[in-house]
Amino acid sequence: MSTIQITINGTSQSLDVPPMKRLLDVLREDAHLTGTKEGCGEGECGACAVLMNGELVNSCLVPALHADGASVCTIEGVAPSAAAEGEPAHLHPIQQCFFENGGAQCGICTPGMILATHHLLDKYPNPTLEQIKEGLAGNLCRCTGYMRIFESVQKAAQALTTIST
């Protein structure tokens, strides 16, 4: 066991975990945040994607030790008023756009997809379709055929630029 210091969705905590435990399991089992999903366990599907120090990572490939001292954002930390208890009052614009435009069907890829979108729109506030395709190519979705997801991302980009201007 090692003790790691990790900030999850803005809250710093210290956790006793085996050093090679996957960040995915640390989040799901130790931090009890089950919004981060496992699809493949080998870095292919992006269902487990989270933001670590602002970078998009597949948490199934990150050993706990590497997350020591890091700041991690999971799907539970995306909505603005995501307090510890209860449902947040508002969805983040990305979540709202996925909700309204058919970006989530079965929903299992959605948390990773939304974090990948978050990361993409940080980098390119007005992404081209090619940039969206590239940016989400590490996140597999078997339900949608991606078209509704592209539309959700485009709408989210518009919504976010309107907010920030």
Partner: protein, 803 residues
Amino acid sequence: MPEPPSLIGASPLRKEGRAKVLGAARYIDDIELPGMWHGATVRSTIARGRIRSITFSDEIDWSEYAIVRPSDIPGENVIVHLIKDHPCLADGFVNHPEEPILLIAHPSKAALLRAKAAIRIEYDPLPGVFTIEESEAAVESGDAERIMWEPNEAAGSATFGSANCFRQYQLYSGEAKETEAGLAKAFEEAAFIVEGEYSTGAQEQLYIENNGVIAECFRDEHGNIESLCVQGSMQCPYYLVHALTVVFNLPEDKCRVIQVETGGAFGGKEDFPSVIGSHAALLAMKCGHPVKIVYDRAEDMAGTTKRHPSRTRHRTALSKDGMLLGAEIEVALDGGAYTTLSPTVLSRATLHAPGPYRWPFLRVRSKAMATNIPPHGAFRGFGAPQALFGIERHMDRVAKVVGLTPEELRRRNFLRTGDVTVTGQKLHEAFDMNAMLTRVLKEHGYHEKLARFAEENKTSPIKRGVGFAAFLHGAGFTGSGERRLNSEVVLRVDKATAGQPARVCVLVSSTEFGQGTNTILSQVAAHTLGIAYDDVYLAKIDTAVVPNSGPTVASRTAMIVGKLVERASLKLLETLRTYSALPETCDRDTFFAATERYFAEHETLRTSVRYEPQAPVFWDDQLYRGEAYPGFAWAIYVAEVAVDMNTYQATCTRFDALQEVGRVLHPVLAKGQIEGGVAQGIGYAIYERCEWKEGRMMNNQMTNYIMPTSADLPEIHVHFEEVPSVHGPGGAKGIGELPMDGPGPAILNAIENATGVSFHSIPLLPEDIFERFTSLGHLHGGSEDIDATVDRDTEVEAPEVTV
């Protein structure tokens, strides 16, 4: 008062969408029960043979583990689907790789891996059969060693099957003798006879959430098993109830099944949850704790069902002006090691094999063969994509031989409104394939591209082409299936309480796994009752609470269950008119006011309805004739492709999908369904290959089984024709499976247009294209140096054309 805007054709927000985008939706692996243990499955490492011994290494303290062997099963050691040939645990003999032999459970998931590795199983291997051809050869040569399946009285298969063959069908376009005579004459008089053979590979459903369940077993004070409760990721909770009653010898009401949020299914969670659900329940029985089994990706891919591989043979007679005179079609499916759902998959393949065409005389012979591969199962389309790949590739071949364009050949032979199909079903409801073809070719820019690509391909190393496929898809269960299912739907009005206004609850066993069940059924109820979408919700799918509205399969939810919801809603209005003076024209306020008056005198308000055919539906299982489906959806899909002659990679560069599906209930969800299905179809055609070795899937990882990513897919344009149908609510028909049918043949037709070479098998990967070009001796060939009118693979007979 103005009419409230119609909810049919609107796109209200997905019912469970908010929880999904928040990451708050709870899937099976997100659920923990107090004292829960974890379960694992010990599987066979060989394809076929006798189990000689099982040894447990003494490095492990086995007293910490629960172990389930076949002898622990309280009821029958069988997973019941259509018949009873599929063991719950292999007892002394294995028939496919990854066959479950033992189950183990432990409080710690990590401890299971070590324990699994410490169990040694020794076998006396026997030879297996791994393809349709090997299975047939064993029968033909009388090689008893390789007969791996026989019909069996006790299993209920004696009347249907034969050695290595689970089921056969014979479909005639009329009375058998007359049809045979008609066919003989057609082939005698034909100006052209065209033959072809087409094949399709296995395909993994690849839902992003693996199969998983949690089971509990409750005992009475004497320690006897009293009841079971299994919750999990699944499509058909009542299928699992049925399986549990057999494994545990318990009555139905003691086997409770709950569906939790399900992360994709596509058929892969239709029949399989009966296996994993029974396994977890056995472990829960053994250890006295709730037991969770969630597969990892490798186990899910290697051990669970896939789409049936197929081989279709066509022999077609045509007149000199390209009219179809008759056809003989043979369809063979690889069913894997046990019967599971193969007979019904085969039935759908048989009925879709003739495509959307008029056939004066036709015979389809079909069979599902047994092989030593994990059983193949349900996957979106359920036999139709295989059969339609055959006919739609074949029609392009026929066109070439006859000297017509693919378009003109089809136009001359399309079914029309009022025609009678080969099963004798009159097509009452209006549809117009010719008009649809005109529309979608225009939307796609087909004719312009045809001309332009032919020019450009002469000099470009990237060969581009366009192709299309025309098809139909039957919605609902085949033939008498819906009548047998006798589905039930209940509507209940919940009284207003302190924090919650009165609402209407829809009780069905129809599950949500992304397709939109919750949303569309709420829409239908709200629309029919004249109340708001938010006034309606779906009951949690728990067999202790919801009636059996049938399985969530076969594109039946919107059309069949939706119609039941509509009828239950009308019945509810009738009740309120009779007892609570609900006015003839009512709205949301008068509706809920009437329910209040009703509650003043009654405790509960609920209505229930059962399936009734909306028009006479007659089907004869013996003769295989009658109304094959309550309704058909019609579609034409157009693909544009680019084949890179340096890398031999074919990509789809634009896709247009036009379908007539009755009224579209929810345009956003409907588009999403079509796009998702098309993406899976593109994967089926040019990306996804299962690599087999002695019956074992070798590429059982997402790293080496390649499904399309966002970077691989073209723009998918979805178009609808809306002709309301009497069979579904508000005129809707089923759409779920349809989009899986078209991409395979459309893309391969486009590849032929691009390269001048006709391919007959999917998946078609760069190595296949390379190999074909190499064998043609045109390593850098383009369309100009390959003679497109002669196909080298298949015999084409063209008797003299009489003028």
